[in-house]
Symmetry: C2
Subunit: 245 residues, 2 copies
C-alpha cells in the first residue's frame, strides 16, 4: 500500500478544529486540485462559494441543523451545481440552452462530488481535516437566498476545513464482499454479512462512547429510513430549473 492509498484509508470526518487559520493561497491550491477532477463532457459545472466567518456563516450553521463547526471552521466552502454558467456559454453564441433535464441534474451534481473529493484529499494530504455538510439541504431555500444563488444553481453540500483538534477512529465499513460484486447484482448472502458487520459497528460505538452508545449499522439505517427524507427537495430543485423532466 503506497502513501496515497494509506492517506485515503485514514480518512475520517473532523468536526473539531483548532483556531489556526488557513491562508488563502492554500484554499486556492485546494480548489485548483478540485478543478482537476474529471468533469462530465467537460461541463465544469461546479462553482465553489467560500463563506468567511460572520453573520451569513452563522445563519448557514443554523440552516444545517445547528452544527456549531459550520460557523467556526477556519474555512467553509459551499459546492454548487451550476447550469447558469453553461447558459452564459450558450448566450455567448446566441444558442438556446435546453435545461431542466434530470440527466443535467445528475452530471452537474456528480461534477461537484468529484471536485469536492479532490479538495478533501488535497486538504488531508496537508494534515487538514474536513467534514461534508449535507445538512445545508435542510433549509436549502434559505441557503440559496443567503448565497444569492440564481436560478439554475443549487447548493449541493458544504465542506468544513481546518486543523484537526480531535483524532477520531475511522468508522468500520461494510465488508468488501457486500460492496464489490462480480458480473451482476447478487445480494443473496448480504443479510448474513451485514449481521456480522453489525456486531463490529456495535463494538466500535461501545468503545468510542465508553459503552454509552450501542447501535448497529442496520439499526441506524432502519431508524433513519422510516422517516421522510427532506421532502422539500424536489419542489425546490424544480423551482430553480432542475429535474423538470
Amino acid at each position: 500500500m503506497n502513501d496515497v492509498i494509506k492517506l485515503l484509508n485514514a480518512h475520517r470526518s473532523i468536526r473539531k478544529f483548532t483556531d489556526e487559520a488557513i491562508d488563502q493561497a492554500t484554499v486556492e491550491a485546494l480548489v485548483q486540485a478540485g478543478q482537476c477532477a474529471a468533469t462530465s463532457s467537460f461541463i465544469q459545472a461546479c462553482t465553489v462559494i467560500q463563506v468567511s466567518q460572520g453573520e451569513v456563516r452563522d445563519r448557514l450553521a443554523i440552516c444545517a441543523g445547528n452544527q456549531a463547526y459550520v460557523a467556526s471552521a477556519p474555512v467553509f466552502l459551499v459546492f454548487c451545481a451550476d447550469m447558469k454558467r453553461l447558459k452564459l456559454a450558450c448566450d455567448m453564441h446566441d444558442a438556446e440552452m435546453l435545461s431542466g433535464y434530470t440527466e443535467q441534474f445528475i452530471t452537474t451534481s456528480l461534477d461537484c462530488a468529484l471536485f469536492a473529493q479532490n479538495v478533501v484529499i488535497a486538504a488531508e494530504s496537508l494534515g487538514l481535516g474536513c467534514t461534508y455538510i449535507g445538512g445545508i439541504r435542510n433549509q436549502i431555500a434559505e441557503v440559496a437566498d443567503l448565497l444569492e444563488l440564481p436560478e439554475l444553481v443549487y447548493p449541493v453540500f458544504g465542506l468544513c476545513i481546518g486543523h484537526p483538534a480531535q483524532n477520531p477512529e475511522a468508522k468500520p465499513r461494510l465488508p468488501l464482499s457486500v460492496i464489490l460484486k462480480q458480473e451482476r447484482y447478487n445480494d443473496s448472502e448480504d443479510q448474513a454479512r451485514i449481521a456480522e458487520y453489525d456486531q463490529h459497528v456495535r463494538e466500535y460505538y461501545a468503545t468510542r462512547t465508553g459503552g454509552q452508545k450501542s447501535m448497529t449499522w442496520s439499526e441506524q439505517m432502519s431508524d433513519m429510513l422510516v422517516k421522510e427524507s427532506r421532502p422539500h427537495m424536489l419542489p425546490f430543485l424544480q423551482s430553480r430549473g432542475f429535474i423538470k423532466h
Copy 2:
C-alpha cells in the same frame, strides 16, 4: 505543492490501455480505498459491479455509444447507487423504508461519486489510468438488465482502469476566478474571463490535433446544450423507485 496534490493536478482521462492485466488484489485495494470516502449519514450506498471481458462487457461498450475501451479495458467497474441494501437493513428490523425521495437519489448518487473518485486517485497513485463512462446512461435500461439490477438500484457511471498506453496533456480548466467565489454568487465578470479562457482551449485543441480541431469551451458547451440530454433518465429512474417525489 506536495506529491498528493501533484498527483491530483496531473489527472487526465486515459482511454488507451496496454494489455497488461491488473491483479484482483489490486482491484480490491482500489475498491476498499473507495469505501473509505465520506458517506452521507453512513448510508454506504455505493455498490460496485466488476464486469470481466466478454459478452456482457461488449454489450456495455455498445450501450455506452460504441466506446471500444469499455470492452477492452483490463478492469471495468460499474458504480451503482443502491437503496436496496438499505431496504434490506430495514427489513432486518421489520421497519418500513420510505423511499422515492429526491433527497435519497442525491445522497446515494453522491456517495457513488465520492467513492469512485477515491478509486481513481488510488489507481492513479499506482501509475494506472482511468476514464469515467457516463455513456452507460445512454441506454441505462439495457445496462440495468445486463447487470441484473433490481429495483432501488441504478447504474450511475462506469470506470475503465488499466495501464496507460497514451500520455495526453491535461485539459486546461476554467480560471479559478470563475470557479471560486467569495461570500455570494456573482458572475458579473465571468463572460470576459470565459472569453479569455476560450482562447486557451482553442490553442489546446489546435496543438493536440495539429490544427485539425479549432473549438472553444463556450462553443463546445453551446453545441451540446441545444440538444436534449438523455430524456429517458427521469422515467427510467422513477420506474426503479427513485425521484418519485
